[in-house]
């Protein structure tokens, strides 16, 4: 074997591993997702100590560390707090670009939900705009049971 390894062909291995995860949403998230799927309502959970209203719902208030038990309905109208426009088509983006990703604070909620804006022209997106959900025809119990938010 020659001590000089210059010019050796670099060998590359390709991964054959595909780990098929499946995540349990848990009772709290499942209550939200089934209400969305079956009743087209957006639910939230309220902290009994500090009064924060969480969307998505949280079993425990991260600030007070006490269990949240009080469910309520929020929206369906909401306000865009921030947005961005994705213009490069990537495997992770299922829709055809440009896609407007936005944080929507539903009326009655303390936290914003990450979702999409459905706009013919992405340049119409602006923070502060009022929006309403458009529900998907085929609903399977994910946040994409809301197809996106459109101008109210």
């Amino acid at each position: 074997m020659c001590a000089d390894l210059s010019g050796i062909e670099p060998v590359i291995y390709k991964s054959g591993i595909n780990v098929p995860y499946h995540w349990w949403a848990g009772d709290t998230a499942s209550a939200f997702l089934t209400a969305l799927r079956d009743r087209q309502t957006i639910t939230a959970i309220k902290c009994g100590s500090c009064g924060m209203v969480f969307v998505p719902p949280r079993k425990t208030c991260p600030q007070c560390f006490t269990p949240n038990t009080q469910w309520l309905e929020v929206g369906p109208l909401g306000t865009v707090t921030a947005f961005t426009v994705a213009r490069k088509q990537l495997a992770a983006i299922k829709d055809t670009v440009p896609v407007v990703f936005a944080l929507v604070k539903l009326d009655g909620a303390s936290t914003s939900m990450l979702h999409k804006l459905l706009l013919q022209n992405p340049s119409l997106a602006k923070a502060g705009m009022r929006v309403k959900p458009r529900f998907a025809q085929d609903r399977t119990g994910t946040i994409l049971d809301i197809q996106g938010f459109e101008p109210a």
Partner: protein, 385 residues
């Protein structure tokens, strides 16, 4: 000079094969709330958090941030440690180091796993070298089987001898409400269970478990104010011995041998078998219950099986091993090594209920990782000098 450190509270979930009712953060929260309750502390008292789980098991890579709803880490110093199978024991050692540093008085240590959420073999295989090992080797059982086979060949024991270890642990698990598998089995059950990888049968190995464990460590400045009888950490040691599967010595586990020897030396233990009252061994399959106690220096090499058959490691024996039922009865991997710590400390603190070994003054817990790593910790009732 490092502070002395004690465990002042522990909490565990009731571990199950799968927990569809909670997500990861919510599972973690159950253990954390129980640990706080056990220590009679609130989240405000906690100065820092150390958390860990297996890489690739839930497919969530920034667990330290993602888990704060459950851990209570919102706006607190928090760090993630993950070292494969040894994650739980590394968490215990890391929590000990952080508390001993004197920078934090009360540290919350959390290990967890939702093992039901991934393909365990696929995830474990990512621990092995892609060029040299993965094309001909996968998962955890193959290397364990190779070790068992090598030991059988050298000392002439059989799978019946190993089965005795499973029978012991599964019997002990019946005393532990937190264990996943709480049904006694017989040697015939083990031998009749499906052969997974010769000579390892299904009932020789650990299950896959969803569960979490939390341990609160306190520095000597506050420990006794929180808990009148804390479990003091006397010392820790760990060893890693190989890079490729072909590197390790089959049938005797060098990482355990050298880690244990270092620990005994540091803590002044001359005759571990006589001095130690109870061991919580991270023993993922039955043969390890024989081989690894030899490496630990409890019993001479080749004598492990005889010692197991004598009943010495059963409840009521000379040196009970795994009063909790151990890993064969329950294995939420990222929590498993920390559960060993919590159980050993529960023994010291006299809080082990149905599984209590009488008058425990010294207890040991261990951790094991897929690539034959060993962590080992010694706890005492007495504050170390």
């Amino acid at each position: 000079m490092a502070k002395r450190v004690a465990v002042v509270g522990t909490g565990q979930t009731f571990h199950k094969s799968h927990r569809p009712d909670v997500n990861g953060q919510e599972l973690i929260n159950e253990a954390v709330q129980r640990a706080l309750e056990d220590a009679d502390l609130t989240l405000k008292d906690i100065d820092a958090i150390v958390i860990g789980n297996m890489d690739h098991f839930e497919g969530i890579n920034y667990v330290d941030c993602w888990s704060v709803d459950g851990s209570g880490g919102t706006m607190k110093p928090i760090i993630k440690l993950t070292t494969g199978g040894t994650t739980g024991s590394t968490l215990a050692i890391g929590g000990y180091h952080i508390t001993a540093s004197g920078l934090f008085d009360k540290v919350l240590v959390i290990g967890w796993e939702k093992n039901s959420e991934s393909d365990t073999t696929g995830a474990i295989t990512t621990a092995f070298d892609p060029v040299w090992d993965r094309l001909v080797f996968a998962g955890a059982i193959a290397a364990l089987a190779a070790e068992g086979m090598a030991y059988m060949t050298e000392f002439g024991i059989t799978d019946r001898d190993a089965a005795r270890v499973s029978v012991r642990d599964r019997k002990h698990a019946c005393n532990n409400p937190h264990a996943q598998l709480r049904k006694e089995i017989t040697i015939e059950d083990v031998l009749a269970s499906p052969m997974l990888s010769d000579p390892v049968h299904l009932l020789d190995v650990c299950p896959r478990t969803d569960g979490a464990c939390a341990v609160i460590m306190a520095s000597e400045d506050v420990a006794e104010k929180i808990c009148p009888n804390p479990a003091w950490i006397w010392g820790t040691a760990n060893r890693h011995t190989y890079t490729y599967v072909g590197d390790f010595k089959l049938g005797e586990i060098d990482s355990m041998k050298y880690a244990a020897a270092e620990l005994w030396k540091k803590c002044g233990i001359r005759e571990p078998r006589k001095e130690i009252d109870v061991i919580e061994l991270y023993q993922p399959y039955s043969f390890a219950g024989i081989i690894w106690i030899e490496a630990m220096g409890i019993i001479p090499r080749g004598k492990g099986s005889e010692y197991i058959w004598s009943g010495a490691t059963d409840m009521g024996g000379e040196l009970p091993i795994n009063p909790s039922g151990g890993v064969i009865a329950c294995n939420p991997i990222g929590a498993t090594g920390l559960i060993r710590c919590a159980e050993a400390c529960g023994q010291i603190r006299g809080k082990a209920d149905q599984r209590q070994v009488p008058d425990v003054k010294l207890a040991v817990s261990t951790g094991f990782g897929g690539c034959y790593w060993t962590d080992i910790l010694l706890y005492g009732k007495k504050k170390p000098s």
